[in-house]
Amino acid sequence: MRIGRRGIILPGILLAVFFAGYVLYPFLQTALASVHVDGRLSLGHYRELFDPGNSANLEAVANSVMVSILSVVASAVAGVFLAFVVTQFNFTGRRTLSRLAVMPIALPPLVGVIAFLFVFGESGILPRLFQILLGLERPPLFLEGIPAIVVIHAYSFHIYFYLLVSEALRRMDGSLLEAAEILGSRPWRTFRRIVLPHLRPALVGGSVLAFMASMASFSAPYLFAGGRRFITLQIFTTKLNGELDLAAAQSVMLLAVSLGFFVIFNVLGRDAGGRGGSKGVSRPKALRLPRVVRRICIMLAVVLVAIEMLPMLVIVLVSFAQEGSWTSQLFPSAYTIENYRALVSDPDVLSPFGNSLLMGVLTVCAALVIGVSGAYVLEKGGLRRGKLFVDTLLTSPYAIPGTVVAVGLILSFNRPSLLSGNAVLVGTFWILPLAYLIRTYPLVVRSTAAALAQIDDSLLEAGQSLGAGAWRRFRRIILPLLIPGILSGCLLAMIAAVGEFVSSILLYAYSSRPISVEILAQLRTFNFGAASASCVLLLLMILGIVALTNVVAGRSAPRDLFLSN
C-alpha cells in the first residue's frame, strides 16, 4: 500500500510521545532510583541485592526462575496434549471440548488462584473429600507452596501452548504426513521428524509467553507461597516498607531477567519454518494411532478439561454460601443469595465494579488509539530493517511485569510533571488506567498489525482503479477488514483491565479500588461467599463483554491474536 509519508507522521509522533513518556520515562526513573541511596548516586542497593550474607533477593530470583521453568514444562505438556487431541482425533463433543479448553483465558489471574484455593488448597473441597473418604485426621494431599504455584501457572498458561500448537497443527499440510507414511515412517518417527519441527515456532512462542507470565506472576505466589520468597513478592513488600529505591533495584533485576528471556526467545522464534506450500486443497490428516491409544488420550483430555472447569464451578457454588457456613465441612452447609443482594444493594461493595468498568473503558479507548497507530506505523510505515526492532520495542511492555510497571509509575508520577498534566497521579484514580494501558496496548498493536498484514495491496489498488480516493479506500476497504482484528485486541485489553490485580494492588487508593482489590479484602476477612460472588460477577461482566464484542464483530469466539503472530 502506498501512503504518503504524511500519513505516517501523526501516528508516528503520537506513538513516540506515548512510548517515551509512559514506557521509557518510568523505566528510566526506575533505573535512576535504583542507583540512588538517600538521594546520592550509589550502587548500594545492588550491593545489597547481591550480598552473599543476605541472600533473600537472590533466593527470590532463583525461586522465580525455577518455578517459571517448571511452569513452562507443565504448561507445555498439558497444552500440547490438549491441542493434539482436539485437532487430531475425531470424536463427539470435540468442538465443545475445544471451546471449554480456552475458557481459562477469560479468567482473571486472581479469580483463578482463589478458585484453586477452594478446590485444591489445604481446606479445599478435593483434599477434604479424600480426608473424609479415607477417614483421616488431616487431608492426605493438598496443594501448597511451589507445587501449588506450578499447577496454577499450568492451569492459566497452558492456553498459550494450546492455542499456538492447535493453530499450527491445523495449518499443517496433511500431505506431509502422507509423504512420511508412504516412505515407511512409523507414527512416532513421523511425529519426531515431521510434526515436531513444524511445531517448533509454536512451542518457542508458547514457552516465552508462559515463562514471562510465570516470572511476572504475583497472585499465585501471594496466596500460595507460604514462607518462600519470590521476586515479585519481594518488590511488593519492599514498596510497602517504603523503600522505593530498593524496590526499583529489585524491579530492574526482575526486568533484566524477564526481558533477557523475551529477547532471546523472540530472536529464536523468528526463523519460523516455511508454511505448507502445496497447491490445491490441503487435507488435514491425523497421525495413525492404535485405537486404544486414541481412546485413552480422549479420556485423559476430557478429564483434564473437567479439572479445568472445576474451579469455576466451585466458585459459583461458594458464592451462594452463607457467611461463616464453610469452616470444616466438605461443602458449605447453608446457602443464600445474600452475597449477591449485598453486591447490588451496598454501594460500597458495588463501587469497585463501577471503578473497574470505567477504567477498563478508558484503557480500551486509549489502547485503541495507541495500538492502531502502532500497528499502522509498523506495517505501513515503510520500515524494512528496523521493523523487527520497532516491533520488539512496541510490544515489549507486554513482557514487563505488572509489579515493575507499578513501581515505575510511582517513581515517575509522584510529583507534578508535563506528562501527568501538572498533577500528582500517585494516589489518584488516573494512575490505574494508565498502568492498564501500558500493560495492554501491545495486544491491540499485535492484533491490528496481524489484520493489517493480511490486507493485500491489490485490494487497495482495485479500489483505486475504481476511482476511490484515500479516505474512501480507508473507510470502505481497510476499516471493514481491520475491525475484527482491532476488536479482538480491544477485547483482550478490556478483559485484562477489568480483572487486573498485580499493578492495582500497588497503585490503588481506597476510593479508586478495583474489583480485584475488593475481592482480596473480602478474602482476607474470610468472607468467602462475598469474595466468590464478586468473582462470579466479574466473570459475568467479562462474558458480557465477550458476547457484546462477538455481536459487534459478528464472529465466533475470539482467539488471542497476540499469540497467533
Binding site: 491489490s458 489498488e461 482503479s465 475504481l466 476511490a468
Partner: protein, 341 residues
C-alpha cells in the same frame, strides 16, 4: 492519433531497469496484448498505465491528456487483477457496485447497471452471495464485471486466466473476447501464454528483459519475427546456426559470415517418407503424439531440432532411433545476422 500512447516509459527499481524506454501506440477499441516471459517487465508496464507505479521517465498519454502523474483513481482505467483482488468482506453486488458508488450514482442506476453487467457475465443468481463462496471462474467473472461496470476508458487485464484450469481458461478466453467486441473497450492484456495472446489480440507487443522487442498483429509476429527471441517465444521456432550462405526465397539471400542464425518453425521441417536419394537425413530422438499433430525432436548433425507434422500412417510408424530423410521449407523462415542464438 492513438487513444493510449506510452512514450519511452522507463521504470527503475533500486537503480535496475524493469522497463526500458517502452513506447506503444494503442488505437481506440483495440485488443492489445503484452506478451513475455515472467520477469520481462510486462506487469510493471501495466501497473504504470494503471497508475500504481510512477514511471522513472517517459510519459503516458490517454485520449490526448498526459496522465503520467495522475493518481490511479483519477484515470478512469479499469483493471482485473491476477488474484482478482475482490473485497472479501463484500457480496458480489457490493463488489461490483463499489466503483459506481464512488461515482455517486443514484441507487436505482447502480442497481440497474450492476444487474445488467452481472447478466452479461452470467452471475445474476449469485448477486447476494459473499465473493468468498464463489468458485475461481465465478470470482474471475466478478472481477471483470467490477472493472467493466464503470465503463472505463481502458480495461487492463493482468494474467486474468492464470488461476483457472485449462478447460475453464479456454471458455473464459472466449467470453473475454466477445465481451470486448460487444463493448468495444480499449483493452490491454498482459500474459505469458502465447496462445492466449495470439487468439485474443488485434495486436501484440512482445517484451524481453524490460524492452519491447516487436509490435504487430499475431500473423505478422508469427510469420516475420523481428528477433530470434520473438521467433522462439511466439512460434516455438528452432534457431539454427548456419555457416556459409543460404538463400531464403523469394527476396533475401543472406550471406553468413561466421554467425548467421535462421529461425525455422517446427512445421516447416518435414520428415520424408520417400526421401530423394542423396538428400539429408536425421535421427529421431523423441516423439510426442498429440492427436492431430505429432511432435518430433530430431538430431541434425549436432543440433537438436523440433519438428511438427500432421499425424499420419507414416508418422505413427516412426520411432526414436529411426534414421529418416527430411526437408526444410526455407521460404517461411527468417534469418538474422550474427551473435549468439
Amino acid at each position: 492519433m492513438a487513444f493510449l500512447s506510452l512514450r519511452k516509459l522507463t521504470k527503475e527499481f533500486a537503480g535496475k531497469a524493469a522497463v526500458r524506454e517502452a513506447s506503444l501506440e494503442i488505437p481506440r477499441g483495440e485488443f492489445f496484448s503484452i506478451l513475455g516471459p515472467s520477469g520481462c517487465g510486462k506487469t510493471t508496464l501495466l501497473r504504470m498505465i494503471a497508475g500504481f507505479e510512477l514511471p522513472t521517465s517517459g510519459s503516458i498519454v490517454l485520449n490526448g491528456n498526459d496522465v503520467t502523474s495522475h493518481a490511479a483513481q483519477d484515470r478512469g482505467i479499469g483493471m482485473v487483477f491476477q488474484n482478482y483482488a475482490l473485497f472479501p468482506h463484500m457480496t458480489v453486488f457490493e463488489n461490483v457496485a463499489f466503483g459506481l458508488q464512488t461515482q455517486k450514482k443514484s441507487v436505482q442506476e447502480i442497481a440497474e447497471r450492476v444487474e445488467r453487467i452481472l447478466d452479461a457475465v452470467r452471475l445474476r443468481e449469485k448477486t447476494r452471495l459473499s465473493v468468498t463462496t464463489l468458485s475461481g471462474g465465478e470470482q474471475q467473472r466478478v472481477a471483470v464485471a467490477r472493472a467493466l461496470v464503470v465503463e472505463p476508458s481502458v480495461l487492463l487485464l493482468d494474467e486474468p486466466l492464470s488461476n483457472l484450469d485449462v478447460a475453464l481458461r479456454l471458455q473464459t478466453r472466449e467470453e473475454i473476447r466477445s465481451l470486448q467486441r460487444k463493448t468495444g473497450i480499449t483493452t490491454v492484456y498482459v500474459t505469458h501464454d502465447q496462445s492466449e495472446a495470439m487468439s485474443l489480440s488485434d495486436r501484440i507487443a512482445v517484451m524481453n528483459a524490460g524492452c519491447v522487442e516487436q509490435v504487430g498483429t499475431p500473423a505478422e509476429m508469427y510469420e516475420s519475427p523481428a528477433s530470434p527471441f520473438v521467433a522462439r517465444f511466439l512460434g516455438g521456432a528452432n534457431i539454427l546456426r548456419v555457416a556459409g550462405s543460404i538463400a531464403i526465397p523469394p527476396e533475401i539471400t543472406v550471406r553468413g559470415g561466421d554467425g548467421l542464425r535462421v529461425a525455422v518453425k517446427p512445421e516447416c521441417i518435414s520428415l520424408l517418407e520417400k526421401p530423394a536419394p542423396g538428400g539429408p537425413t536425421c535421427v529421431i530422438e523423441e516423439k510426442e503424439y498429440l492427436g492431430f499433430t505429432t511432435n518430433f525432436v530430431i538430431r541434425v548433425s549436432s543440433d537438436r531440432v523440433r519438428a511438427t507434422m500432421v499425424s499420419s500412417e507414416f508418422s505413427r510408424r516412426l520411432k526414436p532411433g529411426d534414421e529418416v530423410g527430411y526437408a526444410v521449407d526455407w521460404s517461411r523462415s527468417t534469418a538474422f545476422p550474427g551473435g549468439s542464438p
